[in-house]
Every structure is written in structure tokens, then in C-alpha cells.
């Protein structure tokens, strides 16, 4: 049987966001997989340099729809560390509640998408129906189903009033019961298990070498979770388990995510019970003093790293976002090769890819010379000016 090149992406029904997986197939077996990114690059990091810290927080929130609170909190924590602000404990608790609610909605979304990728549309419909419970709750608390806008420099913008507490607890009860049903489906439904087992294997050594983060890594028994290793927000006060699994394949990732859902419910119950009183925000300076900080956050997909450098003005000098999917993508090649084509969608979905979070750099591949080069900002700028100059367009002549 000859070798066929199948393009999975950039446009493909299996992908929720554009990325290019160029698969070389022999029959049904994947011989080679090449991963290419960059289809969702929007110049967010450059845009951050042109806006104030508060505007940047709203901008970074819209990097991704599903992990929006992760990016905004991670950024704001870095800024608060540079400015030396201590936010009130109630604000920390509210941030953590929203963070765990976001994790619930993201994991439920993932479970539905995993069902859809293996053709199990009934699971997809049921899980997304139950996800509406947490979406409605988030809308009640923050006013929006995604991109909550809860954070501000120095705390949170909105308080959670005490009459919302019973609703939060009731929602947790409903979701916990439904999640128990999904645990039963994941452990007993043969066709589902057969599609997910033995697929996309990553051993413990692979996880360590390829720097895989989040539930993808925890499914290979690597117990790395930023909430426990480097507690931020209110996580130091909470007692929770770091869920790991030793299946090392897509099935393990599903099990880790579903069990993490149960941990989220218990964490939110603890947070609501022990919520401290007090203000929710402290006054923050407009101009952040010079300094730099790295902030880490456990987004639903893994470790999210933000680096912020301030120079004393009201706009940051440099913001760098390292999304978890960028770390997990390095392992994609290993996970796709020597498996079947039918496994490609579910393996891609198993790292819970969020290419909107990921695309930050551009790699230029010269097809004629067969080499590739990495361009820095200045090189890219002069490349584009030269490109236009060759076609007779000079930037100085453009009248806006």
C-alpha cells in the first residue's frame, strides 16, 4: 500500500482551532507526523506593550475563551508581585473560586469533545447539557459565561454576595452526581474504553524529557501540579489531592480529568465554607515600578507561565505568555507516530489543545532552500519593510 499525505488541518472537522498536522500514512498507520503552528497568531504580546496594565489584563483574558481567567490571573499576579501589592484574602478566595469553576467548565467541555472525536455523540450531548449548570453559575457570579472580567490590579472587581453561596453549593451537588455517572461511563463503556486505551502513549521518561505539563503529564504518573508545588491565590489553605494515573495513554488522561472534577467540587465547597470577610480590592498604583516577575498558574490544560517586565511607566516593557499547550505540543509527534489514523483526532484532543493560547512565535520555512530560520522582532520588521519595498510600497508614503 502506497504512502499518502493527509493534511489534518488547518481546517478539519477534528480540530476546534487551526493547526496543521501533516500526516504521512501507509494504509491506516501513521508513519510520520509534522506539527505546524502559527495559524492563530494575533500579535498579543506586542499589543500588550502598547497598552496599560489594566488594558493588558482585559486583552490577555481574551487570549483564550476557555482558560480566560487563567491568563488574566497569572498576568495580574506577576504585576502585583512587581508592584509589591498584597491583595486582601477575600479577593484571593474569590479568584480561586472562579479558577476552580473555570476548571470544571473546561474539563466538562473536554469530556464532551473527546466523546465527539470518537463518534460518541450521546456523551457529548449529555456532558454539554450538564456544563450549562456551571456556565449559568459563572454568569450569575460574573455576568458572563466566558471572559469573566473578575480581576483587577489589587484584587477582584466584583464580590460574591452571601446569598449566592447556597446556589453555588447546590450546583456542586448536581454536578457531582452527574460526574459520578460519567466516571461510570468512562470505566464501563467498552466501545469508549477501547478507543481510548493504548493510544497516544507517553511513558514517565517521555514526560520528563519532553516537558509535558498538566493532566497530560499527570496521566503518566508524574505528579506535577503548580497548585501544590508553588501555591498561589488561596491554594495554600485548601486540602486537595493531586490526581495521577498510571495508564500513560489517552484513557489515563480522561480518568485524570474526570477525577480532577471531583476534587474541584470539594475545593469549592471548602472555599465557600471558609470565605473570609473584608474588602475585595486594594488601591494599586498606575505606574508600576521597574522590575520583572514570573508567575505560574495551573490552568485546566497545565502550567501557564507569564513573564512581565516593568520599567516604571504605566505600560509594560515586555509580556511573555507560555501557554501549556505549547509545552504539550512537543510531545505530539511522539504520540501520533506508529498509531492509526483513526487515533489522530482523539490523541490531538487528549492534550486539550488550545491553539489560541499557544501561537506566539513565527518560524519561517523557506521551501525553496529547504532550510528554516527563526526571526527575531527586528529581523521580522526589516523583512516586512523589505518585502513591501520590493513591491513598490514605502511605509512613509501611506496616508491614513
Amino acid at each position: 500500500m502506497g504512502k499518502v499525505f493527509i493534511p489534518i488541518g488547518p481546517q478539519h472537522p477534528a480540530l476546534k482551532e487551526p493547526a496543521s498536522f501533516r500526516i504521512l500514512l501507509e494504509g491506516e498507520k501513521v508513519i510520520e507526523a509534522n506539527v505546524r503552528l502559527g495559524y492563530n497568531h494575533r500579535g498579543v504580546e506586542k499589543a500588550c506593550e502598547e497598552r496599560t496594565y489594566l488594558q493588558d489584563m482585559y486583552l490577555l483574558e481574551r487570549v483564550c475563551g476557555i482558560c480566560s481567567h487563567s491568563h488574566s490571573t497569572c498576568f495580574i499576579q506577576a504585576v502585583e508581585e512587581i508592584a509589591g501589592i498584597q491583595i486582601p484574602p477575600r479577593a484571593n478566595y474569590i479568584r480561586t473560586i472562579i479558577a476552580e469553576l473555570e476548571r470544571i467548565h473546561s474539563h466538562l467541555l473536554w469530556l464532551g469533545v473527546a466523546g465527539h472525536e470518537v463518534g460518541f455523540d450521546s456523551l457529548f450531548m449529555y456532558v454539554w447539557r450538564d456544563r450549562e449548570v456551571v456556565m449559568d453559575l459563572l454568569a450569575k457570579i460574573s455576568g458572563n459565561r466566558v471572559n469573566y472580567g473578575m480581576n483587577t490590579i489589587g484584587g477582584v472587581r466584583r464580590d460574591i454576595s452571601p446569598d449566592l453561596y447556597p446556589e453555588i453549593l447546590k450546583a456542586m451537588d448536581v454536578l457531582e452526581e452527574r460526574t459520578k455517572y460519567y466516571i461510570q461511563v468512562a470505566t464501563e463503556e467498552m466501545s469508549f474504553i477501547k478507543r481510548l486505551s493504548g493510544v497516544g502513549r507517553l511513558t514517565k521518561e517521555d514526560v520528563e524529557t519532553l516537558c509535558v505539563v498538566g493532566p497530560t503529564g499527570r496521566a503518566s504518573a508524574v505528579a506535577r501540579d503548580v497548585r501544590r508545588d508553588d501555591p498561589y491565590a488561596a491554594y495554600a489553605d485548601l486540602s486537595f489531592k493531586v490526581i495521577t494515573d498510571d495508564h500513560c495513554d489517552v484513557y489515563g488522561r480522561a480518568v485524570v480529568r474526570v477525577l480532577e472534577l471531583m476534587e474541584c467540587y470539594s475545593m469549592i465547597r471548602q472555599l465557600v465554607k471558609n470565605m473570609p470577610d473584608g474588602p475585595v480590592v486594594v488601591k494599586a498604583p498606575r505606574k508600576v515600578p521597574a522590575g520583572e516577575a514570573v508567575s505560574r498558574y495551573e490552568a485546566p490544560r497545565g502550567e501557564d507561565v507569564h513573564y512581565v517586565r516593568a520599567n516604571g511607566t504605566e505600560k509594560p516593557e515586555r509580556v511573555k505568555v507560555r501557554a501549556p499547550t505549547l509545552a504539550n505540543l512537543q510531545a505530539m509527534k511522539k504520540m501520533l507516530e506508529n498509531y492509526y489514523l483513526a487515533d489522530v483526532p482523539i490523541v490531538v484532543a487528549a492534550i486539550d489543545p488550545c491553539f489560541s493560547c499557544t501561537d506566539r512565535t513565527i518560524e519561517v520555512n523557506r521551501m525553496d532552500k529547504g532550510t528554516s530560520q527563526l526571526l527575531s522582532w527586528d529581523a521580522l520588521r526589516s523583512y516586512s519593510i523589505d518585502w513591501y519595498a520590493k513591491r513598490g510600497v514605502r511605509p512613509q508614503d501611506i496616508r491614513l
Binding site: 499518502v4 493527509i6 477534528a14 491506516e28 450521546s122 450531548m125 466501545s191 483513526a342
Partner: protein, 315 residues
């Protein structure tokens, strides 16, 4: 006069119009049940008809490098084969429109032709997704074909004839004997799922893997004909299973017999819709190993069982 009757039989009832209408109705039943199983509302009763009419109104794009004649003819072959298979299946009584000794084989052969046209459609489309869908269709054919043949032929074996009408006559004469073929019935439903490419065996049309498989490049009226062929194939396949495995109530006269027939076909359609909703799609290698390791041996068990029954009860 006989020609007029023949024309009415072929074009209206139980021919083209009846099969198309019943096929669209069965498609609606399937989609509505699938939706209700998933806690959704589901489409209104005229949705499948509206889909077909809409597709007929769209432009049919034939890719430039494809051979246009085969590309255009293949859907018509699929529809024609399924429509032709129906004239040998007994509907409201024990006698079909035409029958001769060996028409079981002819019906099974005519039901294999649509699968071949799906393969050729994917092959002629010259697109990598279609090619993959086409190879998967044939691989799936190799998996489910043997159990299907063995189960249907074991029921025919018990009746000692290769003619569908005579099978129906035999089982009507010996009431309750169709219960011996229950294993065969379930193997038949299983194989029908594979033939119609419904979950868990919708591997050749896996939307999340190969876009639309063999039908990726088809649009407009050609695609409508393929979809119509699949709807009619559902009815013909279910009617075949009803005639071979559920041959009771055939001697009550034309009208009660017809109502029984409708009930039996809808029962098979409900079973297909149920398995569509509760299973995930399995991989092609898993399907081939499942069929050859579990289902084909079950079919042979049924055949041996029928041999023993024939040897003891009927001699």
C-alpha cells in the same frame, strides 16, 4: 394490461415511490429517536424530505481532474441496485413480486452493489480523504459480509430452499420455527449496521477523521442520490431481515400482513437507531477482529444449530 400493473408495481407500490417515502420516514424515525436519546428535540417529520429537496436544488460540483461519467453514474447505480433488490422480498404475504429458486443470493448480491459504488465513488474522487474512506468501506465489507451471508443462509437452510418467497411459506407452515433463528437475527442486525455504515460502524464516514469519506467531493443532486440510496438500503435491508428472521403474520391477508410488515421494519429501524446512540465508533482494525473472532463463529453456531434441527425435527 399486465404491463400497466407491472409499471405500477415498479414505480409506485411497492417500488420507487413507496420505497423512497418509507425510506425517508425511516430516516426521520432514526433521527428523531437519536435526538431524543440525547435529550435533544430532533427534527420535524418532513426534515429528510426537505434535505433531499434542498440537495437537489444545489449545484453539483464535479472536481476538474475526476472522470465525470463514472462520478455521475455511481449514485444512480447505488439507488438502482437497492430498488431492484426489493422486488424479490415478500411484503404483505408469502409471495414476492417475482421469485425463483436462488433469489436470496440475488438480493444479497444486489445489496452489495451499493457498497461497491461507495468504494468506487471514493476511488474516483482522487482526494486523500475519499481514498481512505473507500478503502475503509471495502475493509468493512470483508468484515461483516461473511456473518451476514451465513446467518441468512442458515435460515434458508432450515427451510431447504433458496427462494425468499418459499422461505416465507415454509415458516408460515411451521409456526414458531423462526425462534430457532434468533441468534441469526441479531447477527443480521449487527451486519446491517455495518452495511449501512451506522455507528458503531460508521468508520468509512468518520467525520472527525476523514471529513466525509467517499462522499467528500459529492454535492448537490449526486449527493442526494447517494443519501436516498442509503435510506432505501435501510428499508430493503430491514425488509430482508424481517422476511428471513421474522416471518410470522404473513398468512393473515394483504392488509394485516402489510401492517405487520411495517411494524417489523420499524422495529429493526428502532434497533439500528438505539445502537447508533449508545455506542462509540470503533476502529477499523477492532471491527475486523471483532467480526472475525466473535460474530462469524456465532453465525456458524447458528448454521450448525439449524443443521441439527433439520436433521432431527424435520425428518
Amino acid at each position: 394490461m399486465a404491463y400497466v400493473y407491472a409499471l405500477i408495481h415498479i414505480l409506485v407500490f411497492p417500488g420507487l415511490l413507496f420505497l423512497v417515502a418509507f425510506g425517508l420516514f425511516a430516516e426521520w424515525v432514526d433521527r428523531k429517536m437519536y435526538a431524543r436519546f440525547q435529550n435533544r428535540m430532533g427534527p420535524p417529520w418532513f426534515q429528510p424530505l426537505a434535505d433531499i429537496l434542498k440537495l437537489f436544488g444545489k449545484e453539483s460540483i464535479v472536481p476538474e481532474e475526476v472522470e465525470p461519467r463514472m462520478f455521475r453514474l455511481l449514485p444512480m447505480f447505488a439507488l438502482a441496485a437497492t430498488l431492484t433488490a426489493f422486488i424479490y422480498i415478500p411484503v404483505w404475504g408469502t409471495k414476492a413480486l417475482f421469485s425463483f429458486n436462488g433469489d436470496v443470493i440475488v438480493v444479497l448480491y444486489l445489496l452489495t452493489i451499493p457498497t461497491l459504488t461507495f468504494f468506487l465513488a471514493g476511488w474516483y474522487s482522487l482526494c486523500p480523504f475519499s481514498l481512505l474512506g473507500a478503502t475503509r468501506t471495502l475493509t468493512q465489507l470483508f468484515a461483516y459480509e461473511v456473518p451476514l451471508f451465513v446467518s441468512i443462509l442458515s435460515s434458508a437452510f432450515l427451510a431447504d430452499t433458496w427462494s425468499l418467497s418459499e422461505i416465507a411459506t415454509f415458516y408460515s407452515k411451521h409456526p414458531g420455527y423462526w425462534l430457532f433463528n434468533l441468534i441469526g437475527f441479531f447477527i443480521g442486525v449487527f451486519s446491517l449496521l455495518g452495511k449501512l455504515e451506522k455507528a458503531p460502524f460508521d468508520i468509512p464516514e468518520a467525520e472527525t477523521e476523514i471529513v466525509a469519506g467517499s462522499f467528500t467531493e459529492y454535492s448537490g443532486n449526486l449527493f442526494a442520490l447517494f443519501r436516498l440510496a442509503i435510506s432505501v438500503e435501510t428499508i430493503v435491508g430491514a425488509s430482508l431481515l424481517a422476511a428471513v428472521f421474522l416471518p410470522f403474520g404473513l398468512t393473515l391477508g394483504p392488509v394485516p400482513g402489510f401492517i405487520f410488515y411495517l411494524a417489523k421494519v420499524l422495529f429493526v429501524v428502532v434497533l439500528l437507531s438505539l445502537s447508533h446512540a449508545i455506542f462509540a465508533r470503533i476502529r477499523i482494525d477492532q471491527m475486523v477482529s471483532l467480526c472475525w473472532k466473535c460474530v462469524a463463529p456465532l453465525g456458524f453456531v447458528q448454521l450448525v444449530l439449524n443443521m441439527i434441527i433439520k436433521g432431527t425435527l424435520l425428518s
